[in-house]
Amino acid sequence: MRYFVLAFVLLVFVVVSIAGCRGGLSRRPPVELFADMDRQPKLRPQAVNRFFGNGLSSRLPVPGTIARGAPYQDLPLNTGREPGTTNFVTLLPVPLTSGLLARGQERYAIHCAMCHGAAGDGKGLLAKYQMVGMANFHDQRLVAMPDGEIFNTITHGKNLMGAYGATINPQDRWAIIAYLRALQRAHLATVDDVPEPARAGLNK
């Protein structure tokens, strides 16, 4: 009996010291008990799939085709240009609503503020990290720039700025432009724009 208990305690000790506790960090991939059900031979996005020669399960579009739902029409909404010309549209081709502005504010904070700054002055956080040349939206050149040209810059990038056409959909790009205009308007505001009762609270 004594030997049995000793062997038992030893076994438990060995198992626990090899297997460790829950939550310990490990470089080894998780053990899957029913691997054939857990990992089925089906297409998964952004995973390796040997069915294709280059192993990419996420395929690039075939040249000359358009994905379902992807914008393709020659409309100001999709291109920022007057249909059939290369002229940029001057104003938003979408209705300006408070919802659009709120959406624009949110998207601006996600995608733009890191470089261009929350106030749009080109002094975002990355200015501290060797980034240069971020546009200041309060420059006269950008205040006067047609909405369509800003749309074009977001879509395709410009100079050192990368293209955001793949990550921000057209509707959101217009929302960002609407918010950008609000930032510019706020910057150009004078004390006369502030309602009389609120002026006393201003920090001069």
């Binding site: 038992f8 198992v15 939550g23 960090l25 490990s26 470089r27 089925q40």
Partner: protein, 222 residues
């Protein structure tokens, strides 16, 4: 006759019984403790091809999750960004660093970076990111404190019990939609007040947003 079985054999049935009970207990305890994603999955921390730090980019710099995982609100799948997203900043920041060789190479050739996927539900589970993040379930609920991780590890078991805990009581986790990617956000700095506010507001959100407490099989398995 008395010499056939020695005297100690009188205790044999008792010894066998005690031994079996001990062995049985040990096996049950071992299976209970180890044969669960709480052990098999939690803590998985693979070595990634590029030493990308979420702690630096999100925790310190304050980037939003959606700058890189840009389709998470529209897609069932939370995309890993293409190298061109990295190059939006890294064409200037650390532009010659050898740590980013693979990123530059990927951006130039289109050959993807072989990131190792950490969080993987089984293929028979159809989890939808968009529906969760657009109804106020934060990234942190399933992925843990990503914004503090230099190297991402598997923080939650993502087992069926884990999903059901929340599906049986969505009001306990749901939060304002604009706080979903703010991983440090709480209702209040005092945990007791925060819990009360969570209950009151959680129930309100569940009602207002028509959040269903889905527990039928086909909610996740098809």
């Amino acid at each position: 006759m008395s010499d056939v079985f020695p005297k100690w054999t009188n205790r044999l049935p008792m010894l066998l019984l005690v031994g079996l009970v001990m062995a049985g207990t040990a096996v049950v305890a071992g299976v209970w403790y180890y044969f669960t994603p709480k052990y098999t999955r939690v803590g998985y921390q693979p070595i990634q091809p590029v030493a990308f730090s979420h702690a630096l980019h999100v925790g310190q710099l304050g980037m939003d999750c959606r700058y890189c995982h840009s389709a998470v609100e529209e897609s069932w799948y939370s995309n890993v960004p293409s190298a061109s997203s990295c190059m939006n900043c890294h064409n200037q920041v650390l532009k010659d660093s050898p740590k980013l060789d693979l990123v530059r190479q990927s951006a130039a050739t289109g050959e993807p970076i072989p990131w190792v996927q950490v969080h993987k539900v089984p293929d028979y589970v159809y989890f939808n990111h968009a529906v969760h993040v657009r109804r106020g379930i934060s990234c942190v609920e399933c992925h843990g404190p990503i914004h503090q991780m230099d190297e991402v590890y598997h923080a939650q078991p993502l087992s069926m019990a884990f999903c059901l805990d929340c599906h049986r009581d969505p009001a306990s986790r749901i939060r304002p939609v604009d706080k979903v990617t703010d991983l440090e956000w709480t209702w209040n700095s005092d945990p007791a007040i925060a819990a009360d506010l969570q209950r009151v507001n959680g129930e309100k959100f569940v009602h207002d947003w028509n959040v269903q407490s889905l527990q039928n099989c086909s909610a996740c398995h098809r």
